[in-house]
């Protein structure tokens, strides 16, 4: 199991701040959360930093450690 933490617009699109999913690669994780939360989250996810234990998941082949914490951060530039 992998724990996902959603922040800001990503939490809004997912309707939750965190959840657990069964996934062993970044691609499986993306597919699973798209099924759960639909196109709105998929669109947000595409522009978010998705970090597993601090490292960006850029390829669908990137492996996920069991017990990993995946953080989903949307970019914004306000100052």
């Amino acid at each position: 199991m992998v724990t996902i933490r959603y922040f800001a617009a990503a939490a809004e699109a997912a309707g939750t701040a965190s959840e657990s999913v069964q996934a062993s690669t970044a691609g499986e994780l993306r597919a699973e959360v798209a099924v759960r939360h639909g196109a709105a989250l998929e669109r947000v996810l595409a522009r978010c930093a998705v970090l597993s234990d601090g490292v960006r998941l850029d390829s669908d082949d990137d492996p996920l450690r069991s017990g990993a914490v995946v953080d989903v951060l949307p970019p914004f530039a306000g100052g």
Binding site: R5, F7, A8, A9, A17, R47, A49, L51, S52, D53, G54, V55, R56, D58, S59, D61, D62, P63, R65, G67, A68, D71, L73, P74, P75, F76, A77, G78, G79
Partner: protein, 385 residues
């Protein structure tokens, strides 16, 4: 991990300074020596807006000796809800002038250097070099990447904060720290490139809670002071994510792309990736480039010019990703030679690869692990960033 102070102590404190900074002098790890470091420090605050305002006031109050202020805007009525260095009487004045006055009102002994006008690729290094720490509180992505890349090139630490609506992110970046043992991370490890204008709303579109800027700016000022004095543990390799509505602060670990964060060890990626996108390893690319001229690939660097200036693969042609995504670069790409695309870590080049393949080029690959893999596996004498 504590890190050494970035500034040497200045002259002994005067009697007036001893009185003024009494509450700092009492602090373990600060004391007169820390205060002398602050007085000797030069900090550049880019953006005198919602975040820059509290940063400037706290740095001035803390006794930072030289403060640079960069902004190109005039004060607007709509700024006053959060930009607390500016008042009603300042509307219409250049922000740098209003901010300078506010800093000098706190302490007339501070040297304030104003940089009015836009930061550009041409002037950014000249503006930022000579400072000890740079603060990024700007309100747009292009300037944020410009400042990041310049700080990486100059080896400067950068305190970075960003706000929107009720949300904020704060971190410390140091892409090329001068001494080993310091976590090297930068903005591009978090967000490799700026999102498109339509993909990320601005405060002008979506709003921002003014007081949130105070929380974030205060964290940023605290991080600046810690770096200057070498006190505590900087917010390096960690992003502080603030949700003002829930009153929740969360720490998110951040590692250099391609390097595992501190904490639980990730399983190693399989050596041959079952990937649908064609890749070449750094060693394979080096072999191809050393091979017969007719078979040498056309290497395209899709990074930004400032990154290319830091380190480049010999012979690589610089074509920033934006020109590939908007199609203007295709005319200059050969159809009779293999094309190898590369960026810093492989994220942007994967995106470029999809665009080039979609444009009908067939003999295309991208460099697995980017130029960082090239530095590690082919030429370790080159600069990592």
């Amino acid at each position: 991990m504590p890190i050494p102070p970035v500034v040497e102590p200045g002259p002994a404190l005067t009697a007036e300074q001893l009185r003024r900074y009494d509450r700092h002098l009492l602090l373990p790890g600060v004391g007169a020596e820390g205060q002398r470091r602050l007085r000797n420090a030069r900090v550049c605050v880019v953006g005198a807006g919602g975040l820059g305002s509290p940063v400037l006031l706290y740095l001035a109050a803390a006794g930072v000796g030289t403060i640079g202020i960069v902004d190109l805007d005039d004060v607007d009525e709509s700024n006053l809800q959060r930009q607390v260095v500016h008042g009603w009487a300042d509307v219409g004045r250049p922000k740098v002038d209003s901010a300078r006055d506010a800093v000098l009102a706190v302490d007339a002994g501070i040297t304030v250097i104003v940089h009015a006008g836009p930061l550009t690729a041409e002037n950014v290094a000249g503006v930022l070099s000579g400072y000890d720490v740079v603060v990024d509180g700007t309100d747009n992505f292009p300037t944020r990447y410009l400042v990041n890349d310049a700080c990486v090139a100059l080896g400067l630490p950068e305190v970075w904060g960003s706000v929107l609506r009720f949300d904020a992110q704060v971190s410390v970046f140091w892409g090329r720290p001068p001494v080993p043992g310091i976590t090297a991370v930068q903005l591009r490890d978090l967000f490799p490139e700026a999102p498109g204008a339509d993909d990320a709303p601005s405060c002008a579109d979506a709003g921002v809670l003014g007081a949130l800027c105070g929380q974030v700016g205060s964290v940023m000022a605290t991080e600046v002071l810690k770096l200057l004095m070498g006190v505590g543990e900087p917010l390096l390799g960690r992003v502080l994510v603030i949700d003002a509505l829930a009153s929740r602060w969360t720490e998110v670990p951040l590692a250099r792309a391609g390097a595992p964060a501190a904490g639980p060890v990730r399983p190693a990626a399989p050596s041959i990736r079952a990937s649908s996108s064609p890749t070449v390893s750094a060693r394979e690319l080096a072999a191809l480039l050393a091979g017969p001229p007719a078979r040498r690939p056309f290497v395209v660097d899709v990074r930004e010019p400032t990154e290319h200036a830091i380190v480049a693969i010999p012979g690589a042609r610089l074509i920033p990703l934006g020109r590939i995504l908007d199609g203007t670069a295709f005319e200059g790409l050969p159809r009779d030679r293999q094309i190898v695309l590369h960026c810093r870590t492989g994220a942007r080049s994967a995106q470029a690869l999809r665009a080039v393949l979609a444009a009908g080029f067939t003999d295309v690959a991208h460099l697995d692990g980017g130029i960082l893999a090239w530095v590690d596996d082919v030429d370790p004498t080159l600069t990592r960033y």
